[in-house]
């Protein structure tokens, strides 16, 4: 008589060999959290695999909407796979594929403050039902949100943002999925891993269990379901 029905996350056998196995299960309409900030920490091989998979009508949460790299999140717009995107900074001049789909009305955009994006992801990961924040209160971005004055300051109620899948990138993983990130490539990757039912990580390097000191783990493997070792799209 369990209350949650998600499949068990197991500490064992997280390693997948093929990019297509890494993204298996992403379906039309899936909510996919895509890590990376600007050009760093981008899970390019996983994005490329989603492009090959061909699922469409995806709801994508991302910081940017593409920076003109061969396989950043822009590829999913180019392929017409995105139905809705939740983003904070979609206006980079190189986000031409997003722009075209947005202009034609094929893609719906939910623009949210960057801190609210991070906090909504974390709220999902932490099992919260939502939170009040003053960020964005009284602006166009929160017109449809419930509001409440707390300590004299107007707050908006933000819901958790849960993903079916998170596609993230890390520098290093051990066999249990304990991750290390490198400088600004950390970004949203850890909170996205927390917020998804299935978290897939692309890592540059795999090391044996025990090689990363327990106090040096950035994100524990309990948040990681599948590990793909790959240095990136050539």
């Amino acid at each position: 008589m369990t209350q949650r029905t998600e499949s068990a996350r197991v500490a064992l056998n997280k390693l997948v060999q093929d990019p297509s196995d890494a993204v298996a299960g992403i379906r039309d309409g899936s909510v996919v959290l895509v890590g990376g900030w600007g050009g760093v920490g981008v899970p390019d091989v996983l994005i490329d695999a989603v492009a090959r998979l061909g699922a469409s009508g995806l709801v994508v949460a991302t910081n940017n909407c593409g920076m003109g790299r061969p396989a950043d999140v822009g590829l999913l717009f180019r392929n017409g796979q995105v139905g809705r995107v939740i983003a904070t900074y979609p206006v980079h001049p190189a986000a031409t594929d997003f722009l075209a789909r947005f202009e034609s009305g094929e893609v719906e955009l939910e623009l949210i403050p960057q801190g609210t994006l991070a906090e909504r992801l974390r709220a999902a990961g932490a099992g919260l039902g939502g939170f009040f924040t003053p960020t964005g209160a009284g602006t166009l971005l929160t017109e449809r949100r419930e509001t409440r004055v707390i300590d004299g300051l107007e707050h908006v109620l933000e819901p958790p943002l849960r993903g079916d899948f998170a596609l993230i990138r890390a520098e290093r993983s051990d066999e249990l999925g304990n991750l290390r990130f490198r400088y600004a490539a950390r970004g949203l990757n850890p909170v996205m891993a927390m917020a998804a039912r299935t978290t897939v990580v692309q890592v540059d390097e795999l090391v044996p269990a025990g090689r990363i000191h327990p106090d040096d783990v950035h994100l524990p493997g309990i948040f990681v379901d599948r590990i793909l070792v790959s240095g990136g799209v050539p």
Binding site: R9, V10, G210
Partner: protein, 217 residues
């Protein structure tokens, strides 16, 4: 004086062998702590502690005790290769966010429909709650490991909890020194009896009606 049923290590083994292979499992304070000592390493269960240690095991001969490596009851434990440490915010995000495949908790009372009472009694003027409510609500499966009766002999598996609740309809399995009992939609199904215990013994020690092993699928 020998008491009927399993001793604590045996009871802990009954819990341990039912934990999901390769799963992440939290162990509460008290009796559940013993499960870490009885797990088969080939099950590859990773134990999570509310204090932020993920991946620990019971101490064995030759282990050096480290004062900062302790379980929820402040008992010395050891870390496994691949262990990780987080702060309480992330440790409870894990528990509350649904990342634990199971938690093993002690209890004062468990009801026929899986209600759990394990943080206070009606008589208590002072109580501690710790992580009980977070874990009972957040883990995918709640296993109760407890003595079958209270010290005063009162049955702890009851039709309806008379003690203040920790969480409703959360318990899936109860392991006492007398039996392993599953909370099912049809009622409390006995899955295993300790060697020297009969079904009638068990029913006599239990407030709620039990379904005998033969009567359950």
């Amino acid at each position: 004086m020998s008491r009927p049923g399993w001793d604590v290590p045996q009871q802990a083994r009954q819990v341990a062998r039912r934990l999901p292979r390769g799963g992440y499992v939290n162990l509460g304070i008290g009796l559940p702590a013993a499960v870490a000592d009885q797990i088969d390493p080939d099950q590859h269960v990773v134990f999570h502690c509310e204090n932020g240690l993920i991946g620990y095991r019971g101490m064995v001969g030759g282990d050096d005790p480290d004062p900062d490596v302790i379980d929820a009851g402040s008992r010395q434990v050891a870390l496994i290769p691949g262990a990780a440490v987080v702060g309480h915010d992330l440790s409870f995000a894990i528990a509350r966010g649904g990342r634990l495949d199971a938690t093993v908790l002690g209890a004062y009372q468990v009801s026929a429909d899986g209600d759990l009472a394990n943080w206070t009694t009606p008589a208590a003027r002072l109580s501690g709650v710790g992580g009980a409510m977070d874990l009972a609500l957040g883990a995918k499966q709640v296993i109760v490991m407890m003595r079958h009766r209270a010290r005063d002999g009162a049955p702890k598996i009851v039709q309806r909890c008379s003690y203040p609740l920790t969480a409703r309809r959360c318990v899936g399995l109860v392991v006492t020194e007398l039996a392993v009992i599953e909370v099912t939609a049809d009622g409390l199904a006995v899955r295993q009896l300790a060697p020297d215990i009969t079904f009638d013994d068990l029913q006599n020690a239990t407030d709620a009606p039990l379904l005998a092993p033969s009567a359950t699928p």
